[in-house]
C-alpha cells in the first residue's frame, strides 16, 4: 500500500482544482457518489449569493464544510471571500495555516490566508480567502462602544458585573452577536462572499430569532418596569407584589444591581433596536442563502429536516443541503452484497492458495464479508433516509466518508471538490 498522507490522495502530483475535476483529494478510493438530478450546484449558488449561512446540528462537520466552501469559492470564483467561524478546531486553524506555534492566529479581526497555504496544496487561488473567528466578548464591547450615548455610560456599562456576565457567559448572546458581526462585516462592503459557520446552539434556530429577541428585550414593558427607580417602586401599588416576591428570592441588592444595569443599557435602546432590525432584514435578503449541513444519521437528520422546514416557514432561502460522511455507494451494490454472502458462507472452500497460514484465510474472508454486510445495512438505511428528505433545495450535495481527518488546505479543497458541481 502506497504510503499516504492523511487527507491527501496517495502519491498524486500537484493538485489543481481548476484543472482536475472530480478528482477528490481526500477520499482516494470511493467512487464519486451519484447525485440525484438537481438544477443547481454549489458552484452556482456561491456565485449568486453574497452571504452563505451554514447551519445544522452539532458534530456534523459544519465548520469544515463552511471553510471548504469558502476556500473553493476563493479558488474558483476569485474575489475576496471570508469565512466567519465560531469555534474552529485547532486542526481547522492548522488547515487554514492560521495556527501559529502558539495556536493564536485567528481572532475577531479578519486575517488573510496566505498564498503559501494554497501553494502547499498545489493551488494558485484566483481570489483571496480571509478568516475570522467570533469573539463574543470583544464583539459585545464593540457594540457597546458604538451605541453608548457618552463615554461615561460606556465605561459604566463595560465595568458592570452583570454586563460582563451577559457578554461572556450568556449563551444566547452568542447567537445574536454572530448575526450582528455578520451584519457589520457585510455592511463594510469588503467581501464578495461571506460564509458563516453558525454557533452550536441548543436549538439550531435560536440565532434566527436572536435579533428579534434582542429588540423585544429592549422594548418590553418589563424592562421599563424594572428600571423604575427603586424607591418609587415601593410606593407603586401595582408592582408591589412582584417586588416583594422578587426581593425574597433574589435579594434587594441583586435586584438593585440589575436595575442599575438596565438603566444604563436602556440608553443604547434606539441604536440597538434599529441595528437588530437591520440584521433581521439581512437574513431574508435575496443575496443571503442558508446551507444546511448534516449527516445521514437519524438524530442529526431529523434536526436538519426540522431546520429546513423552519427556514421555508420563515421564507428564508434554503440554498443547499450538504450531507457529510456518506458511506460509499458500493456498500449498497447488490452483486457485491451477494459476493460478500458467498465469502461468508463458503469461506472454507474458497482457498486461493496464499502463502500465509491456510487456517487464517477463511477467517479473514468471513471478517471482511461481515464488515461489508454490516456497513451495507448502514448504507441502505442512510440512502433510504436521504430519499425521505422532504425539502428540496436547489442543491443536495453528499460528501463521502473520509478515511482520515482534514488537516490541510488540500484536504479542505478535496472536500470542497466533492460538493462543488
Amino acid at each position: 500500500m502506497a504510503p499516504s498522507v492523511p487527507g491527501r490522495p496517495a502519491a498524486q502530483g500537484p493538485w489543481r482544482p481548476h484543472l482536475r475535476r472530480g478528482a477528490a483529494a481526500a477520499p482516494a478510493s470511493p467512487p464519486p457518489p451519484s447525485r440525484p438530478p438537481r438544477q443547481g450546484s454549489l458552484d452556482g449558488l456561491l456565485a449568486a449569493k453574497e452571504i452563505v449561512i451554514a447551519c445544522g446540528p452539532g458534530g456534523v462537520g459544519k465548520t469544515t464544510t463552511a471553510a471548504a466552501a469558502a476556500a473553493m469559492a476563493a479558488c474558483r470564483h476569485g474575489g475576496r471571500v471570508l469565512v466567519l467561524t465560531v469555534d474552529p478546531a485547532k486542526r481547522l486553524a492548522d488547515a487554514l495555516g492560521l495556527a501559529g506555534p502558539g495556536g493564536a492566529g485567528i481572532g475577531n479581526t479578519e486575517v488573510r490566508i496566505g498564498t503559501e497555504v494554497f501553494a502547499a496544496a498545489g493551488v494558485a487561488p484566483r481570489g483571496e480567502l480571509w478568516a475570522a473567528m467570533l469573539d463574543t466578548k470583544e464583539s459585545w464591547d464593540a457594540l457597546v462602544r458604538r451605541h453608548a450615548p457618552d463615554a461615561e455610560t460606556r465605561e459604566q456599562i463595560l465595568a458592570n458585573p452583570l454586563y460582563r456576565n451577559i457578554s461572556s457567559r450568556f449563551v444566547q448572546s452568542h447567537d445574536y452577536i454572530a448575526m450582528e458581526r455578520l451584519f457589520e462585516i457585510h455592511s463594510e462592503g469588503t467581501y464578495d462572499l461571506i460564509v458563516v459557520d453558525t454557533p452550536p446552539t441548543r436549538n439550531a434556530l435560536d440565532f434566527l430569532d436572536a435579533p428579534k429577541r434582542m429588540a423585544d428585550f429592549f422594548s418590553s414593558r418589563l424592562l421599563r418596569w424594572l428600571i423604575v427607580p427603586y424607591r418609587s417602586r415601593l410606593v407603586n401599588f401595582a408592582s408591589r407584589p412582584f417586588y416583594q416576591v422578587a426581593d425574597r428570592i433574589l435579594g434587594t441588592q441583586f435586584l438593585a444591581d440589575i436595575s442599575e444595569f438596565f438603566v444604563l443599557f436602556q440608553s443604547m435602546y434606539p441604536g440597538f433596536v434599529e441595528r437588530a432590525e437591520s440584521v433581521t432584514r439581512l437574513l431574508s435578503d435575496r443575496r443571503t442563502t442558508f446551507m444546511v449541513v448534516s449527516t445521514l444519521e437519524a438524530t442529526p437528520l431529523r434536526e436538519a429536516e426540522f431546520f429546513s422546514k423552519e427556514l421555508s416557514d420563515r421564507r428564508l432561502h434554503l440554498g443547499a443541503i450538504v450531507l457529510n460522511k456518506v458511506l460509499p455507494t458500493y456498500f449498497r451494490n447488490r452483486a457485491a452484497s451477494k459476493v460478500a454472502s458467498t465469502l461468508r458462507e463458503r469461506s472454507a472452500e474458497l482457498e486461493v492458495g496464499l502463502p500465509t497460514d491456510p487456517d487464517q484465510t477463511p477467517r479473514v474472508l468471513e471478517e471482511i464479508a461481515d464488515s461489508f454486510l454490516n456497513f451495507g445495512v448502514v448504507a441502505r438505511r442512510e440512502a433510504e433516509q436521504r430519499e425521505e428528505l422532504a425539502s428540496s433545495p436547489e442543491v443536495l450535495a453528499t460528501v463521502p466518508f473520509f478515511d482520515a481527518d482534514i488537516v490541510d488546505m488540500a484536504g479542505l479543497l478535496g472536500l470542497g471538490e466533492t460538493i462543488w458541481d
Binding site: G58, N203, L223, D247, L250, A336, L343, L354, P355
Partner: protein, 322 residues
Amino acid sequence: MAQPIAPVPELLDLELIFVTGKGGVGKTTVAAALAQLAAERGKRVLACEVDAKGDLASLFEAAPTQFAEREVAPGVFAMSMDTEASLREYLKLNLKIPVVGRIGPLAKAFDFVATAAPGVREILTVGKFCYEVREHTYDLVVVDASATGHIISQLAAPQAINDLVKVGLIRMQTGWMLDILSDPRRTGLVAVTTPEEMPVSETLELAERVAAETTVRLSAVVVNRVLPELFGRGEEEVFEELRRPEVADELSRRAGGDVGPVIEGARLAVTMRRTRAGHLQRLREGLDPTVPVLYLPYLFSRFHGLRTTRQVAASLGEELGF
C-alpha cells in the same frame, strides 16, 4: 506512577449523574441506557432531559416527557426540565405566601431577570435535581444535560450565585446544593464522546474545565460508536495478500462475482478504525488516569428507540463489569 484505577462499578452507586457531550455523539442514548441499566439492577431512577427535544422519551418508546415525571419503563421515570415549572415548584415549596395568582407574570419577570443573570436560570435547573437527590425520592437521578459548551455554566451556577447574590432565598439554597454537587460519592459527570477528532478534543477540554471551574467530579468518559477490530494477529498480512490484483481476481472467479467492493469496503473499515484508534489514544493520554473510560460498540443494525437503549445498556453493563 501506576495508580490503582478506581473501581468503575461505583458509577451506578452515585445519586446524581450529569451526562454531557458534543452534539451528535449519542449523549441522550447513553443517558437513557444508564437509566435503563440502573433500573434493571433494581434502582428507582429519574431520567431528565434538559434540552427538551423529545429524544429521551423516544428512546423508551414513550410519549414526550413533561416536567411532571412519568414511569416510561419499569423503574425508570422520565421528565423534561422546564425552568418556569421548576420556579413554580420552588416557590410552592419555599415561599409560604399565597402567590399562586401572581406566579404567571412573576415567572415571566423572572425569565427576564434570569436573562441578565445566567446563574439564576441554571440554578433552577440544577436545583431541581439536587432537590430530588436531597429528598431521596429516587436512588439515582440521570440528567441528559446540556452539550459540552453549556454544562460548565450549569454546574458552576451555585458558586456563581454565591458570588453574585449576597442575600435572599436563592442565596440560602446554594449551600446545600454545593454540598451535593461537590461530593464525588453522590454526584458525577459522565462525558460522552465518539472516537473522532472534534469530540475527543472537546472532551479533553471539558475535563480540564470541569476540574478548574466546577466542584463536580468527572466520573467516567464513555466512548460511543467504537468500530470493531477486523483482524487479529497475522490476519492483516492475509488481507494484504488478498488485495493483490491477481489474488483478488482469482477470488472473484471462485466466489462468482467481483470481490473488489468487499475488499475496498474492508480497507475503508480498517482505515477508519485506525484513524479512530489514534484519537482514542489521544483521549486516554489526555485524561487523568483515574477517570475510567468505557467503550461502546458501533451499532450497525439500529440506532434509535428502546432496542438501541437496551443494547447500549447491555454494553455499558459489560464495561462496568456486571
